[in-house]
């Protein structure tokens, strides 16, 4: 019987899920730029995936509004193991300019465990690609 090739593929090129929880769309545009041909995160095999059940990396944007907490946890729980969470932008990491407002959770790490933080408002597309490459390394170590 031949070895299952999909096992190796998922080791090096896991799929990405993009989730917005109250961001201003600045980081979303940079993520879209990093997927586009100029920066091209897809050449590493990290395709954008619409369903959480097929993705291993969660790219999260925004300071996590109270209304999105339930939906974010549901999405996180649907992702298969091993999984890696990336917080994109300063709002997602610390709350940013929204910190202390009545409707936000002040950062993603108050809700779910985070593996990679990307700073910047918004971060540049190459920094996002750098973060995704780091997340792939973390996934490899989690798989062992």
């Amino acid at each position: 019987m031949t070895k299952n090739p999909s096992k190796n593929i998922r080791k090096t090129s896991p799929f990405i899920l993009h989730f917005n929880s109250g961001g201003c769309n600045g980081c979303d545009i940079e993520i879209a730029a990093s997927l586009s041909p100029k920066f091209n995160i897809e050449k590493y095999g990290n395709l954008l995936e619409a369903s959480p059940q097929n993705a291993n990396i969660l790219l999260t944007v925004g300071p996590v509004t109270l209304k999105q907490v339930k939906r974010l946890k549901e999405t996180y729980n649907q992702m298969p193991e091993p999984k890696c969470v990336i917080s994109v932008g300063s709002c997602t990491s610390t709350g940013g300019v929204f910190k202390g407002l009545y409707n936000v959770k002040d950062g993603l790490d108050n809700v779910i465990p985070v593996d990679v933080y990307i700073a910047g408002c918004p971060p540049r597309p190459d920094e996002i690609i750098d973060g995704v490459k780091k997340a792939v390394e973390i996934l490899k170590s989690k798989r062992k």
């Binding site: 509004t65 109270l66 209304k67 339930k70 409707n103 959770k105």
Partner: protein, 159 residues
Amino acid sequence: MNNSTLKNERKIVDKIKKDLDDLINQIELKRSKRIFLITKRENLKKILDYLKNKMNCRMNAITCSDNLNEFELIYHLWSGMKSMISTKIKLPRDKPEIESVTDIFPVANLFEREVHDLFGVEFLGHPDLKRIMLNEDWPEGEYPLRKDWIKNEKKNYGG
């Protein structure tokens, strides 16, 4: 203020003054395309009914502001004659109640739910005054956009 540039606005003001003189306390014409009617809450529905049926107005928004003495509600209507007609009313802070205008403008349903959610203004006769902006498990009786509201660190605000 140049008279010739506000020709259209003055025409509207004259028409409103002629028809609704006893209902309106004051009319302000601050700049082009902006007309403010200041009135009491008992007269609000009659004025909106007139503006809809006679002036061909549509509702754009309901806004609320808090100056620690009273709430100021503003009903923003876009008239068929290319200007914004905004009706201002004031509500006492201890009893913020007003009749709903959903029977005149059905779209006011959403705006009234929003104002009720964030300021705690009661709209009497509204068909379904449930939450729209805040999360589902937000505690009752907390209105975050009131000026004297402070976040209680011991309380659980849901999420």
